[in-house]
């Protein structure tokens, strides 16, 4: 369980990234955070694995306040929280397998990882996870030989190899075309259901948010302006969150292409 208690974050330049957030996210939920760019979605998600550090309030993950974590504690926390990025962030010159096995770094001693001496179970785990996202045939390809959608699937496999309790995804489909976007979201949803991994995704496409989320959190100017089940959300809700009418660019579309 993740709990935000009066959490605020002020950046050194004075910008308020988060303003007094109070939110509870339960184990196994699939939460989509929506909002315009600059609304604080990224800051929200990055607080959970402390890529940014909130400046006031408390943030509890599995019952412990993580704001004071440093060094080893912080690495232990991050080991259990996987993160997926908009730009996939794979090492281009390394093979797919090497990129995926990097998910085990937190579990492996420095010396073993430098000399590439992973336990057989870890290597098999990496391969199993590549199979789950249907990209196991690219095992020994260089990461930069893959298409965007394929790279994002590899990054999902990398996160799975971490065996996390929580998956954070920061705009995971923003660089992808509509059919590939749906494919990636479908994998995330499927993993969330099968492994009961709490999943928090940033999106700005409202149609995708409504389709995949259990729960939608709306943000504007660093504040949570909406929080409720996806089933109760309609276009009017989004107009309230965004503070303007809905436009073409807020929709991803393309679902039909996947099904056909």
């Amino acid at each position: 369980m993740i709990e935000f208690k009066n959490l605020s974050l002020t950046y050194p330049n004075g910008t308020q990234g988060l303003k007094n957030i109070n939110i509870k996210i339960n184990k196994g939920e699939f939460v989509v955070i929506v909002g315009l760019s600059g609304a604080g979605k990224s800051t929200f998600i990055r607080s959970i694995n402390r890529l940014v550090t909130p400046t006031a309030g408390e943030l509890h993950v599995e019952g412990e306040d993580i704001l004071q974590y440093k060094g080893r504690d912080l690495r232990e926390l991050r080991k259990k929280i996987g993160m997926i990025f908009q730009s996939y962030n794979l090492v281009h010159r390394s093979t797919v397998l090497k990129n995926v096995i990097a998910g085990r770094l937190g579990y492996t001693s420095t010396l073993r990882s430098i000399f590439n001496m992973y336990p057989t179970e870890d290597i098999e785990l990496a391969y199993e996870n590549l199979k789950r996202v249907n990209i196991e045939n690219k095992l020994y390809s260089r990461a930069d030989e893959l298409s965007g959608g394929q790279q994002q699937r590899v990054s999902i496999a990398r996160v799975l190899t971490q065996q996390p309790n929580v998956i954070l995804a920061d705009e995971p489909v923003a660089s992808l075309d509509p059919p590939t976007s749906h494919q990636v979201m479908t994998y995330l949803k499927q993993i969330n259901r099968e492994d009961n991994i709490t999943t928090i995704v940033n999106l700005h496409f409202i149609d995708m948010a409504m389709e995949y989320a259990d729960r939608i959190i709306g943000m504007r100017d660093g504040e949570v302006v909406y929080d409720g089940p996806a089933s109760k959300v309609n276009e009017g809700t989004f107009e309230e969150i965004y503070g303007r009418s809905i436009r073409e660019e807020d929709m991803r579309g393309g679902k039909e292409d996947v099904e056909s």
């Binding site: 993160m83 962030n89 090492v91 390394s94 492996t108 420095t110």
Partner: protein
């Protein structure tokens, strides 16, 4: 035909600035030429022509019988260059990390690193060779030291630029998976920079082969020693042969190195 676009705005100030620069460049050129004291009458004299007549043909009649001993010294030269640039390629890595502002987040440390590399680059190899000959005696080891110190300056600078251009998002994503600093170095940074490091090191080796050919002139080993002896004895056929060997070997190494570098990156 005149293009149908708005006319370029006239800028007289720019024109004046350009005119001043051109005049300044010409003035400096005239001034330097006037002050180096060239005796044109001596240059275009019968003596010059006679000297050329006497010496140049002997260059083109190289002493092939010396090939064996010259090749031996050339190999020594290449070894000096190789050992020196290999040492530099390794020593430059930690220095480059000190200078890279995206890795070491202290302006002061970055500046110190830059300052060390800059100071080292200020010395030409021959000068370094003189210093090291004084320190360790007139042998190839002095040449190796001169080459390695000289190359460290350039490689460190180039390496640090490579490090500064890496994709930091990859570092962030490794951090977010709980990897420690050393693991990030080996999984996130090295794969991004090593091919470029290697490419620069090979390029520097190419330069070092040329640089170490002259080091022997000041006694730091290699083929330069032979050049000095042959030159002092006015043995122009041997000088010609030495030059021929240097040109051939350097060209071959250049070709091989650019072939390898093309496949690396």
């Amino acid at each position: 035909m005149k293009a149908n676009i708005p006319a370029k705005p006239k800028n007289n100030l720019k024109l004046v600035k350009r005119l001043i620069s051109v005049i300044a460049i010409i003035a400096i050129y005239v001034w330097t030429f006037a002050s180096v004291n060239i005796e044109w009458s001596k240059i275009f004299s019968m003596r010059t022509i006679e000297n050329f007549d006497r010496i140049i043909p002997r260059f083109f009649d190289p002493a092939f019988q010396e090939t064996g001993s010259i090749m031996l010294k050339m190999i020594e030269t290449v070894f000096i260059a190789y050992t020196g640039s290999l040492a530099a390629a390794i020593i430059a890595i930690p220095l480059a990390f000190l200078c890279a502002s995206n890795i070491v987040k202290s302006r002061i440390v970055n500046q110190i690193g830059m300052w060390i590399l800059g100071a080292v680059r200020a010395f030409p190899e021959v000068l370094l060779a003189i210093i090291f000959v004084a320190a360790v005696g007139p042998n190839p080891f002095a040449g190796v030291l001169a080459i390695s110190v000289g190359s460290t300056g350039m490689l460190g600078k180039l390496y640090s630029e490579v490090i500064e251009s890496i994709d930091m998002k990859i570092i962030e994503s490794l951090e977010s998976s709980g990897a420690n600093k050393l693991q990030i170095l080996f999984y996130g940074i090295f794969p991004q920079v090593l091919p470029e490091f290697l490419s620069y090191a090979i390029y520097r080796f190419e330069i070092d082969v040329r640089a170490s050919s002259v080091l022997g002139v000041v006694g730091a080993g290699g083929i330069g020693t032979l050049i000095t002896f042959a030159y002092l004895n006015r043995n122009w056929e041997e000088v010609g042969m030495i030059l021929l060997v240097i040109i051939v070997v350097v060209t071959i190494i250049d070709q091989i190195s650019s072939f390898i570098r093309k496949r690396l990156v």
